[in-house]
């Protein structure tokens, strides 16, 4: 009886077996990498309606974050400043600047400037700025060094695993409250000691249960 299948098909099960597993592994790996917020979200840098430079204001001029983001210590929301805050200075400084035209238009018309959100959490996550900045987590820990960004971009993945890493072990990220907005602060030699002390002082217990952030 002649053979129905040519000889080379004897290798087929092995090829399919090995190739298939490689393919599955590769797709899993690809999805793990390309699907993760580390790839999809980090580096997100939308164009803003006003060419506002954090580097100039927060970096070169050294304006404290809280001059504009006023509610960061008392509210879940850090809040984007009203047009009024811009006009406090820009009534006098560069009052004719082309780049500031949208701000002056907003001020004159009463229509707000529509900024594009960079750091976005899903609607079922309830993050609270005040809980973090009053307990020694600096702005830079989540937002990166804003003082060096011309246009703000997302620096951290902001996914749940990333949150939990810090909630499970906040020690390396804790800093004195007066250094909260300092972008260049480096942990001292005795960081472990400081962390242990402040955790006790602040009765720190970062929630790791679902109910901490989801409601």
């Amino acid at each position: 009886m002649p053979q129905t299948f040519p000889r080379w098909t004897n290798a087929l099960p092995a090829i399919v077996g090995v190739g298939g597993s490689v393919l599955v592994a590769a797709s899993a790996l690809a999805f793990w990498y390309y699907g993760s917020p580390r790839y999809t979200d980090v580096g997100y840098r939308p164009k803003q309606p006003v060419p506002y430079s954090h580097k100039l204001h927060a970096g070169d001029l050294g304006i404290d974050c809280r001059y504009c983001h006023t509610t960061v210590e008392v509210s879940p929301s850090a809040s984007v400043p009203p047009t009024q805050t811009c006009m406090n200075c820009h009534k006098l400084i560069l009052p004719e600047s082309e780049r500031l035209l949208p701000v002056r238009e907003s001020w004159a018309s009463g229509r707000p400037i529509q900024w594009t959100r960079v750091h976005k959490l899903p609607d079922y996550v309830y993050f609270d700025h005040s809980a973090h900045v009053t307990r020694g987590i600096g702005c830079v820990s989540c937002h990166g060094n804003i003082a060096e960004m011309e246009v703000v971009a997302q620096q951290q993945p902001l996914n749940m695993g990333w949150c939990l890493d810090c909630h499970r072990n906040p020690d390396p990220h804790l800093r004195p409250l007066q250094e909260i907005t300092n972008m260049k602060w480096v942990p001292p030699q005795d960081q472990a000691q400081f962390a242990a002390l402040s955790k006790k002082d602040w009765r720190l217990s970062p929630p790791v249960d679902c109910s901490g952030c989801h409601r």
Binding site: P76, T83, T116, K120, D209, S211
Partner: protein, 989 residues
């Protein structure tokens, strides 16, 4: 397992009869068809199609959506984005007002609570107050000035009225009339006076279908003055209610419920409670709280009262006016009831109160007032105040107005609020007579039945958008201040009236301030006005108690005119009752979906009313639940389905008002049946002469009654006060079970905060305020009648109602059931994706973003408190309804399970505040939504391992028991057994 000592509770007639249908219902986890799609596709077709469309469209949705941040241009000083603000205001309601504190998020009011400073609420609320927030955002509210159905502008009306006005001024208003809702508002009263000064010959009528008119008339009969009763039930040991549902549908019910529950509170210091007798024709929540409920037809309540007065006189009370009044013919049962009550009342003189309901005629109120006076109760459990700034509803005035219209005298009628075309007595035929009026100006929130008949319709603002004022039942002057600019334009009633009187437009704020300048006469107006705005009320402005002089001769004359023999109602001569709806009230809430879906506390019907009758009456008529019958009364007919309610008086049927509206809006149109079609001005609440015939058709009613039945185990545990005194642990001993051993290693739960709840069944009145408060706080959708029929209602806290005892004379009890937050939670053990897990503070958390919708958890929940989103109910919310959502709670999507969270958002907010202030959360600082709303303070919540906390004390009470505790699920929610305080003279039914 052995259930000893528990009463046999049953939840419905089907269960008592133990029919095959009921058994089948019980054993299906989700009612029949619950797992089928709503349309004709089968699940298989659907999955096939879904697979295909996913393959086609799966990868196109990966782009990150762009989201905008829109800051203020000029930030208001007091707003902190992300932090809610609270403002005091008031909700005018009939001849009173409820004091409120409203939560607002960035200028968007989202939640109503009672004002802790206000005597009408003391921080609690009822379902109407809770649901009023949804009315604000009702997309069906009127937006435009209409002239004969065409859109016009306010300026057009201004021009029109200025012309009209001058001619009315010339003839001193001879052809002008106003029909308004009753009010007790200093500003409206001032404008009314100005109106009558400007147009002295005009007619002014105030009318609403459900009011305290007969109570006011009764006080006038008894004393010659119009007085309003204010009750202090905590001062009474014996309470006799004659058809008064003072816990829910009567005036000032929130304050009443609180005081009543305080008089029943048992603790270590005080092992005593009040005793409540209720005589009524149809079961109400007040009847359910009664220690003795007497079923009696409404028309015979007066006979019971006269018998009671004679009995009191016979027992030595000085009641001169009873001399020569014949004893009415009562049954032996009723007489022994009356005798026992009389003895109790005599013993508790000055610590007792008799209450008569607003549905009863004036003569009964006069008699009750005289009895209270003779018993020395006035000034203690009841006091009378002379109401200020009141425009009481008056049916005679409405009849006078109707006659004037018919005579052709009236050329301009101004209708201020209300819905008179829908709800006025049918014999006055208002809709027809309005056609004779040249100009009808209607000012209301909706283009409703009345607006359809009007030549001009002017949109009115909601009270949360208005400046105004009102007086509470005890006379406290309260201010109404806006939380938001009018969403749809419109004017307040005061602004309209001001314009109608003067022809000049003045802002509402100025009008109200002008009134208050007189109220706050003296120095420092600005400072005191700011204080009033802050508190929501003027301190110490309650009216003083009036001194009462009873006119004995008048009462004697009235009583001698009463027939001593009452024609018995029978199957061919039934008594018809018009009952106040606990959810629609008089129909004003018809377009409110929350209230439409709130199960009636007694019938558990949603989205409908029915004709309620006793099992015996139904049997004799040969009808059952859902059979459509034709009611004929005084030549008018109404077709309406039947619902059988055990405990209804025989041969007496009840119709709830407020349903069957034709122009309420998308939600309320055509829901239920319009009982106003039978209601006449001389018999507004009950009358005999009703005939019922079968039509042979049936109608599907949606009830939540059977869903989640717990198979007759002692779920509500109750005993008598004497049993409790003998054995305080009786409730815990009702179920015997082997030692409870867990398969798992137990978690300790012994540090930090450990949240828990205790619900005192002795206080719970079953009103449903908690259900609506939870719905508002937690963004719970409504699902509609067809979904309720499938058992898909979404309420996180339901109120179960059980009957007990004889089917003809049952007792009723209520039990609120939210998620019990079991420490050994059965739901958690079966979730395949760990979407429901415990946190270290003992909360059984539900993680929506993990849930894949297997519904295993709900299958395994012994309490049936988990709710599944069968559809994306929130997707098509109108943008204004979306504004009513609480931003602190996730809005759920399709395919997700949800349930009570113990208001975790409030826990987290309290934690944040405490941490920022570097302290612990204090007991009582944190209230769940249900707890805060509960008018009877039945719910306590807090840290169960802090020994001083209220909840720990409640759980240490000997009445404390766990629902199905024998399952060893270790619920964090526990119940305090209910106690009744029956009179030993009256044998137990």
């Amino acid at each position: 397992m052995n259930h000893s000592g528990g009463q046999k509770h049953w939840r419905s007639l089907e269960q008592l009869a133990d029919t095959a249908e009921f058994r089948q219902f019980l054993h299906r986890e989700f009612p029949q068809g619950a797992s089928e799609m709503d349309n004709s596709w089968s699940r298989r077709n659907f999955l096939a199609l879904m697979g295909a469309s996913l393959a086609l469209a799966g990868l196109t949705g990966c782009r990150r959506p762009e989201e905008k941040i829109v800051p203020y241009v000029q930030a208001p000083e007091e707003v902190i984005p992300g932090i809610a603000q609270r403002y005091a205001t008031s909700m005018p309601f009939g001849a009173g007002a409820y004091g409120l504190v409203v939560e607002s998020h960035e200028g968007r009011p989202t939640k109503i609570e009672g004002n802790p400073l206000h005597p009408s609420s003391r921080g609690a609320s009822n379902a109407f107050m809770q649901a009023a927030i949804l009315d604000l955002y009702d997309p069906d509210r009127s937006r435009h000035v209409l002239h004969k159905g065409h859109q016009k502008s306010w300026d057009d009306f201004v021009t029109f009225w200025r012309e009209q006005r001058s001619s009315h001024v010339d003839d001193r208003g001879a052809s002008l009339a106003v029909l308004c809702e009753p009010f007790s508002s200093p500003t409206m009263a001032r404008l009314k006076r100005e109106f009558l000064n400007t147009f002295p010959n005009s007619l002014w009528a105030a009318y609403a279908p459900v009011t305290d008119e007969s109570i006011f008339d009764g006080t006038k009969l008894a004393t010659g003055e119009l007085l309003s009763p204010v009750y202090h039930f905590d001062q009474a040991d014996i309470i006799v209610s004659l058809d008064a549902d003072f816990l829910l549908t009567e005036s000032d019910n929130v304050a009443n419920a609180r005081a009543f529950a305080n008089g029943r509170r048992i603790d270590l210091q005080r092992v005593d409670m009040n005793r409540l007798y209720v005589a009524e024709s149809g079961y109400t929540v007040t009847g359910a709280m009664a220690d003795h409920q007497l079923r009696v037809q409404s028309s015979r309540i007066i006979a019971v009262a006269i018998a009671l007065a004679s009995e009191l006189a016979a027992q030595g009370l000085q009641l001169d006016y009873m001399r020569g009044i014949p004893q009415p013919d009562l049954s032996a049962d009723q007489l022994s009831w009356v005798k026992a009550i009389a003895r109790d009342l005599m013993q508790a003189r000055s610590r007792a109160v008799i209450v008569a309901g607003r549905r009863q005629p004036a003569v009964l109120h006069a008699l009750v007032m005289a009895m209270n006076a003779a018993l020395g109760n006035i000034g203690r459990a009841v006091s009378y105040v002379s109401p200020k700034d009141l425009a009481p509803s008056n049916t005679a005035d409405l009849a006078r107005l109707s006659a004037a219209i018919k005579s052709g005298r009236i050329s301009t009628l101004i209708v201020l609020g209300g819905h008179p075309v829908y709800s006025s007595p049918v014999d006055l035929n208002l809709p027809e007579s309005l056609k004779q009026v040249e100009t009808v100006v209607h000012c209301g929130t909706h283009v409703d039945e009345t607006a359809q008949q009007a030549s001009w319709h002017l949109p009115e603002t909601h009270f949360l958008e208005s400046w105004g004022d009102a007086r509470a039942a005890d006379g406290t002057a309260s201010v109404v201040q806006p939380l938001i600019e009018p969403l749809y334009g419109g004017r307040t009633a005061a602004e309209m009236l001001q314009f109608i009187v003067t022809g000049n437009e003045v802002r509402g704020y100025e009008i109200v301030r002008d009134t208050w300048k007189a109220l706050l006469a003296g120095a420092d107006f600005e400072k005191r006005w700011r204080a009033v705005l802050h508190d929501g009320l003027l301190e110490n402005s309650a009216a003083p108690s009036a001194t009462i002089t009873i006119r004995h001769q008048e009462i004697h004359d009235l009583l001698s005119q009463q027939p001593s023999e009452f024609k018995d109602a029978g199957i061919s001569n039934l008594e018809v009752n018009f009952a106040v709806s606990p959810s629609m009230f008089d129909g004003r809430f018809a377009n409110n979906g929350w209230l439409q879906e709130l199960p009636d506390p007694v019938t558990k019907l949603t989205w409908d009313n029915a004709t309620l009758m006793s099992p015996k009456t139904a049997n004799e008529l040969g009808v059952g639940n859902g059979d459509v019958v034709s009611l004929t009364y005084r030549g008018r007919a109404l077709e309406i389905p039947v619902w059988i309610v055990p405990g209804q008086a025989d041969y007496s049927v009840s119709l709830e008002l407020g349903y069957g509206r034709s122009f309420a809006g998308q939600v309320g149109n055509g829901v239920g049946f319009n009982a106003y079609a039978l209601r006449t001005s001389d018999a507004p609440y009950f009358d005999s002469g009703l005939a019922i015939s079968r039509t042979g058709r049936t109608y599907e009613l949606a009830t939540t009654q059977e869903h989640g039945s717990m198979e007759g185990r002692p779920l509500i545990r109750e005993g008598t006060l004497d049993e409790y005194r003998k054995n305080p642990r009786f409730a815990q001993e009702m179920v015997e079970h082997p030692p409870l051993v867990s398969l798992w290693k137990d978690r300790a739960y012994n540090e930090g905060y450990q949240w828990g709840m205790a619900i005192d069944l002795n206080a719970c009145i079953g009103c449903g305020a908690c259900t609506i408060a939870c719905q508002s706080e937690n963004n719970i959708p409504i699902v509609g009648k067809t979904q309720v029929r499938k058992g898909r209602e979404m309420h996180w806290i339901r109120v179960d109602r059980y009957f007990e005892g004889d089917v003809d004379n049952p007792r009723m009890a209520h039990q609120p059931v939210p998620c019990q937050h079991c420490e050994n939670a059965p739901c958690e053990q079966v979730c395949p994706v760990a979407a429901t897990v415990h946190d270290k503070e003992g909360l059984n958390t539900m993680v929506y973003n993990r849930c894949i919708g297997t519904r295993y958890c709900s299958n395994n929940c012994p309490y049936k408190v988990r709710r599944f989103n069968f559809f994306n109910y929130t997707k098509d919310y109108h943008e204004t309804i979306a504004m009513a959502q609480n931003p602190d709670v996730t809005v759920r999507s399709r395919g997700v399970m949800e349930k009570c969270t113990y208001c975790v958002q409030r826990i987290n907010e309290a934690r944040r505040t405490a941490k920022r202030e570097d302290r612990q959360i204090t007991d009582g600082e944190l209230l769940t939504a249900c707890q805060q709303a509960c008018p009877a303070q039945a719910i306590t919540f807090g840290n169960i391992i802090a020994p001083d906390s209220q909840v720990a004390k409640a759980k240490a009470d000997s009445r404390n028991y766990h629902l199905l505790g024998e399952l060893n699920v270790r619920p964090r929610t526990s119940y305090l057994a209910r106690l009744r305080n029956p009179n030993s003279e009256l044998s137990e039914a």
